[in-house]
Symmetry: C2
Subunit: 207 residues, 2 copies
DNA sequence: CCCCTAACGGGATCGCGGTTCCATTAAGCT
DNA sequence: AGCTTAATGGAACCGCGATCCCGTTAGGGG
């Protein structure tokens, strides 16, 4: 959700130099604040202070906490983590599960993801940005499943995206709902469960 | 999280009649407000108005939005939905998945659950109340898995709670993160995937 | 049935987050 | 390099949500 939309209009817009510097400083500060205080504690004035930027600027460009989070999400979607290539479906899914687990248990990233998801439940535009974020992340890893189909490990017609989602789902469920510990054994189990269900043909698209 | 803890102390506490009536009116109003406006829009003064109760009372007894949500969660944990008894693991899990799906897509309950989870990410006490809520819900359905083990449908040593969680996880993942549609086919797939993974022995506790 | 006081409710008050105004800085075009 | 104006930043302002104060209502023991 580009908040810049109301820039320009008659004159020319200036995304260069200072503006970009302010934007990245504010987004980094917003990430810090979210990780520390959660979404409920996100105060635009505080973000401005952390970023070393005028309060007015932050209110003008992002207006609301959810607007700021939405912009942060579009930036997060751009930096992609490359997928693994272990040669087997289970190996690839396990690598993915461990990566997700490491992210969600990271002292900064974990609280940040919680906060971002909380923000998305409060605002449609933010929810859309979150949806796009996960769509790109999932698409990044889908080829692992496609290769497994080509290798004959999985039945033809298996939905790759659904398999990758199935790996993440239990980890996010623990993070957000059950609150159970998120250890490596849990991550491995998530990968094994997704692989077993996929092998059983559960994710074959029915026509 | 009982907010009543600072009541009494020297005199006697009075949970009867009026107090209980106020509490349930406020909790119902809080549920309505959360479902309509989300956690970010939860205003204690507004809740008081909806409940036909003085602002001061709400501020005194619950103090913060998260405190109110925490109390609401303990009440929600008390009303339990009974589990199904279809005679087969897959039948029971499918019944559970469909029940969860119906709840999450309900025009009132769905937004309410989103809001409650958002609140839990902002406050430790609320997160604990949410954890307890899901623990009771999961425990309610665990016997389905135990019976399946007794019937010989699943290997001995299968962790019942883990199987039940595996059914809910993909549905919550869609609700909160991916934003993909939550239709009945998805619910059935969640049940089938959990059953397949359980049958493959993924949820057997390793000693 | 009466009294004591826990608990509630209305109104006044206070503080802080959000907005507006205008001077200052620096992109970007010629 | 110089000019135009997009964009920033400080400071004053303002409105609304949270708190405080105190009179009123009603639970529950004697």
């Amino acid at each position: 959700m580009e908040q810049e939309s109301h820039y320009g209009g008659h004159g020319t817009t200036r995304p260069g130099g200072r503006t970009a510097r302010v934007r990245s400083a504010v987004l980094r500060a917003a990430g810090d604040a979210l990780a520390e205080l959660g979404f409920a504690g996100l105060d635009l004035a505080d973000v401005a202070r952390r970023a070393g930027v005028g309060r007015t600027t932050v209110y003008r460009r992002w207006a609301t906490p959810t607007g700021l989070v939405a912009d942060l999400l579009t930036e997060m979607a751009e930096e992609s983590l490359p997928r693994a290539e272990t040669g087997s479906l289970l190996g690839d899914l396990r690598a993915n599960a461990r990566l997700v687990r490491r992210t969600l248990t990271d002292p900064r990233q974990g609280p940040l993801f919680k906060a971002v998801i909380a923000a998305a439940t409060c605002d449609a535009a933010t929810a859309d940005a979150l949806r796009r974020f996960y769509a790109t992340r999932i698409a990044e890893w889908a080829p692992c499943v496609e290769q497994a189909v080509e290798r004959g490990e999985l039945p033809a017609g298996t939905d790759p995206h659904e398999v990758v989602r199935a790996v993440s789902a239990p980890l996010y469920y623990r993070l957000l709902a059950s609150g159970d510990p998120l250890d490596e054994a849990t991550a491995d189990r998530a990968a094994e469960a997704a692989a077993a269900a996929a092998a059983a043909g559960i994710y074959v698209v029915r026509t």
